[in-house]
Point group: none
DNA sequence: AATGAATGAGTCTTCATTCAT
DNA sequence: TATGAATGAAGACTCATTCAT
């Protein structure tokens, strides 16, 4: 095992603290609330010190956003049984992602922000890297749909588009919960969405079956 | 006969210039780029002069956003034949909205921003009025779905939720086009979405019949 | 009788309205609250129009202050019986001035302001004219004291200084009432002051005599 | 042993510079002349830097005023022999205060300003703390008077009122000197005031005896 | 004579970034 | 490494004064 120097450990710890603080602030109050002073203070380091770990504010925020994305994908992945049927797997993804977004509002708010950032022509390059995470996620969804279509569980469809829409439906559902101070419990909402997705199923019997598992 | 005084004309012209400048800047570079100095300069008026037309920056931005929302709804409404069948009407809405968003990128970016703003608990009240426009739009979509369900053109469903998802799908489609510098022409994309909606919504028994109309 | 043209009448009316508005604002909220916009609006004239009657803001304020001073002196003068004994006259002045200041808080606040203004080396010239009113008032007080000293009603003293101090005592008493939200009724306070001044009297019998009159 | 770190020294120095600059400006040109830019420049620091030492402009001004008040009280206190007779002590206070005000014109101008500020209902709370200094001073004066009355050096009187008037007389005397570019030397003026006070306060029977001491 | 739209200088305050220690 | 004092650019908002109408 590689020897990890005291220096590296500290470096790592600092970086982590800073990113965590940044995420927390973004989630709670948005980009405008992210000031070096505050991030530093919440991370137990001083304003000036931050510059030892990040070139500038923008880089720090970008790193924080990447971290959020990574975490989200990991959380979802861990809930999916890769051996299960496609519909079951789809449901698992939906439930995992909905829970993930519900648990970490910052994930959700950040998703919104990233969209906004990406929609700015001039800033696009700066944030482009973040799209990779999304792409990876969409590909997993698409694989599930492809599987289902191949096995005639789902109607034939443009699966790339399907994956995209399903993802958007999840995000917007979660978002609405946040904005509306949602009345429904999360599970009700999630099942409402799943019911909609069930319309993609050729044979509604699949729907019942997977339902028993939850 | 409405007599429009010179004063009113000027007042109107200024207000319009300011709102337009504001919209343009928001669309191009986001909220943070909206400074009184710049809005003024793009509208051909000085910083101080703006305050003759708007109480403060926030009010001005709010007005600009409301204008965008109004315009969007009007554009969509004008394309819908209220006497047509529900599926036809739904398609008309989708096409109109997709075109509207494509034409005015600022509409789209602004929608994203508003979402972000609304997701901030503390700022919610300030922007709440903007939700009314969305509500109105969703209600129109829902009415179409209700109609379709009643006439058995559509599967039975939670139409409120359906309206919500459809709207979100349109927005995210348009957004993706913007972010990805979309390869497909708009119509292709729109038809792809319509096809997906058909898959989700339409009672297969009635499929053939209504298809002829589109 | 001199013919007064319509023009002059209007001119006069406008000027009066403006000065009144200015006084009102100074009294209520201080100098900083005096904006051309507001003075104009309270006087029923527009911002720009004011410049037809006063060269600039400073001139207008100066005129307002002069008016206040004039009014104050007139009010006091009208309450003094020039044929009465010196002690009686002193009491009349004190009572009149105390009432005047109580009635028009603006008089009082303005007095404070004038002092401040005068204490500024560089601005002194601008406000110097206001001192004339004060001088006139002090001279009247001094005349009363001189009279009393000559007739051996008062102890011998530096009457100029005496007049000065008596005036200051009145002003500070009134001021304290304003600042402390004074508990005592005005007359009690005034009589308290008079009692103090009575110590200047050689023969306390005068004190009793004049007392009966109130 | 109090270790004073380099940091503390600097901190202290800056704070002092800023307060001094503020005082100087207030004294020379009044509140309106106090701008952050100017205070900074006179204290050898930049606009932005001030905010490291004071939360905002108001706090800074308040601190400056408090400093002035404290200094004034200290100067006076140091000149009073607490074991002396009441009349002697009164004279000591008068002389000390007159000198103090003469030496620091800013003390005086500021007193005027504070009065003005306090006379504004709506701003009162903000400046209320400053009244404490005055209260303390008046109480000391009152104690002297009480002493004198008890020992029959002074006439019986409302000592609270007396203390108030004496203080006001001192202030107005000093003020007049400033406004009139006073012809008399300070000591003459002070003795004039003391003589007047003797006339008002002292029981003629005891006059000769205590005179020897002054 | 009067308006009130427009100007633009002036004010407070915030914050990313630098740099001496 | 780390600090945090200091900078300076920027931004919102106010208001006396001007001037075309």
């Amino acid at each position: 095992m590689a020897h990890v120097s005291r220096k590296e450990i500290l470096q790592n710890f600092r970086t982590r603290s800073l990113l965590e603080a940044t995420r927390k602030i973004i989630a709670a109050e948005g980009f405008d609330a992210v000031t070096m002073e505050r991030v530093g203070s919440e991370a137990g380091i001083t304003k000036g010190g931050i510059y030892l770990y990040f070139r500038n504010k923008n880089q720090m925020i970008l790193a924080a956003l990447e971290e959020i994305a990574t975490e989200m994908l990991r959380e979802i992945e861990s809930q999916v049984d890769s051996k299960a049927q496609s519909w079951t797997r789809l449901c698992q993804v939906v439930r995992a992602q909905m829970e993930s977004m519900e648990r970490h509002k910052d994930l959700l708010r950040t998703l919104l922000l990233v969209r906004w950032l990406l929609s700015d022509q001039r800033e696009r390059k700066k944030w482009r890297r973040l799209l990779q995470y999304r792409e990876r996620h969409l590909n997993r969804l698409k694989a599930i749909l492809d599987d289902g279509v191949r096995q005639k569980t789902f109607y034939p469809m443009d699966t790339a588009r399907g994956a995209f829409y399903i993802n958007e439906m999840m995000i917007s559902t979660a978002l609405r919960r946040m904005v509306d101070l949602s009345q429904l419990p999360l599970t009700k909402e999630t099942e409402g969405l799943i019911q909609f997705l069930a319309l993609l199923l050729r044979d509604k019997k699949h729907f019942q079956k997977s339902e028993e598992k939850t």
